[in-house]
Amino acid sequence: MIRRTDFLTKNYGVPNGWSLSVYEKTGGYEAAKKALAMTREAVVDEAKKANLRGRGGAGFPMGVKWSFMRPHPTKPAYLVINADEGEPGTHKDRTLMELNPHSVVEGCIIGCYGIGAHVAYIYVRDELHLSKARLWGAIDEARAKGYLGKTPFGKDYPVEIYVHTGAGAYICGEETALLNSLEGKRGEPRLKPPFPAQAGAFGCPTTVNNLETIAAVPTIFTIGGEEFSKYSSLHYLNDGGVRLFGINGHVKKPGVHELAVGVTIRELVEDIGGGVLGGRRILGVIPGGSSTPILRADEKVNAPDEKSPLHPWHGKSVLDVPLGVDTMRGIGTMLGTCCVTVLAEGTCPVLAMHNLMQFYRHESCGQCTPCREGGAWLLGTVEKILDGHGTMADLNTLTDVANNIMGNTICAFGEGTAMPALGFIGKFRKDFVAYINGERKRSDARLTIS
């Protein structure tokens, strides 16, 4: 069921919608006032009730993550906001920074207080110049009003927020790579443990939250955690609230929309996205950024067991399953960033995989051999197949290489490369074979449809 809301997006499109005056006209900063009057423990409890699954891709419950933060006898704590938005197909955080930056600032104030931090760093990828300017503008406005600084809203709990910039590296979206980058190093992911809550930024206890995650916090404290959670039709799976859904690729109306959690891919494509370009049928859908394996339009849910959370959709098309963290996992893919990429019939899946493998080849940080070398092998082998020089053995090589990346790397970028590769090879095997048999040629392959 589609349920539109506008907690985060009500001022999208309003003249100067990003300014403090517009934000305050609709109740802005009341949530921070309220939260700062609560105890820290109560703030974390309220956050837990919201069942907000991290919006950065992994879907970890935000309140639980906050509860990992323990005061350290000598070290300060930090809140770090991940606005590196680089996962191909993801275009939602940027709209918040440009059009509703005060929700981020207010969320940071509450978040800092909840986890016991006095400083928040918002790590924004360098290319997003307007986003950075809007965030700085919001920070300056909030500080001028006394909402930031030594005594926010009169409370003796200093909070400062700074925008920090990257320099063009997708891997810096991985939270420990991001921390290294924040510390002025190469953006190479760290071995875990220790986890950021134990030793994060500058060796201190740190919470890393996605930008949309933190921007949703004021809403939670305005309407209450449980109320927030109940907006979702997946509330019963602890997947609560409302979030930004993106839709891109071969749809008539691409864009970003705020909806209650629980819409299906079909609803997003047909009702929100206006249907597929040229009235074509769907070839496949990438549910939440390029690292999430593609779904075919003709796949059916197989969950005969009544205890399975997916049983209600047994026998139905995967496109009719609600977009949720556990539901997408249940059908062999991932929710990821909740921005859907649609490929229409007529698109070449081999060429699509080739495009993505170029991305992964380019963005591997190079620390782990399976990722560094495997990425190159995957790209080289698809290229060979596309060019008509591939053999059936090459198809097996692709699978072997991808399987050897899985579980053998420092960070999840490895899986993020291997899983979509395995998805394309497994689900569109016939297309790969057509190149190998010489039935199809690269010169005829298209990614665009007319």
């Binding site: 110049h129 990257g166 590296a169 997708y170 980058s181 002025g184 891109n248 690729g249």
Partner: protein, 161 residues
């Protein structure tokens, strides 16, 4: 010649240093300040940053080579980045790239003979909902059409700067 920041940028550096518990954390923002001034990060800039932040030059060099937005060699006055990743490719990025190459008379990775424009491809720039798109210096241009690309590039080639 040794590199030095302009007075205004030096003031920005001092502000930067107040934000972090370590000097090293200012490394990437400072490199951006230097590149804004010099256009690229040469050895003098690396020495300067290392000196100001008490870092070994090898550390700074390691950082510069890791991130794709730091130019290790001189580039054109203006930077054109066309996004090539799948969601943009589904909506015609390939045609935009070809059009740019033709109009500017250069290939991806090259700079026009008058030193004005460097053309490159970018990986997903978080504008997939408004694809195809390109970035020109610090500005995004989205929902590109053939005419729009033509107009943007013409303006760029004719600009005084």
């Amino acid at each position: 010649m040794a590199f030095a920041l302009s007075e205004e940028r030096d003031r920005e550096l001092r502000q930067l240093l107040e934000r972090y518990p370590t000097k090293a954390a200012a490394c990437i923002p400072l490199l951006h300040l230097c590149q804004d001034q010099a256009g690229y990060i040469g050895d003098e800039v690396i020495e300067f940053v290392a000196h100001r932040l008490d870092l070994p030059p090898a550390h700074v060099k390691g950082v510069v080579t890791f991130y794709s937005l730091f130019n290790q060699h001189p580039v054109g006055k203006h930077q054109v980045w066309v996004c090539r990743t799948l969601p943009c490719a589904l909506r015609g990025a390939e045609d935009v790239i070809k059009q740019c190459e033709k109009k500017l008379g250069i290939h991806i990775g090259e700079t026009t003979a008058n030193g004005k424009v460097t053309l490159r491809t970018a990986e997903c720039l978080a504008s997939c909902g408004t694809a195809p798109m390109m970035q020109v210096d610090k500005e995004y241009f989205e929902n590109l059409t053939h005419d729009r690309v033509d107009e943007i590039l013409s303006r760029l080639m004719e600009s005084k700067r």
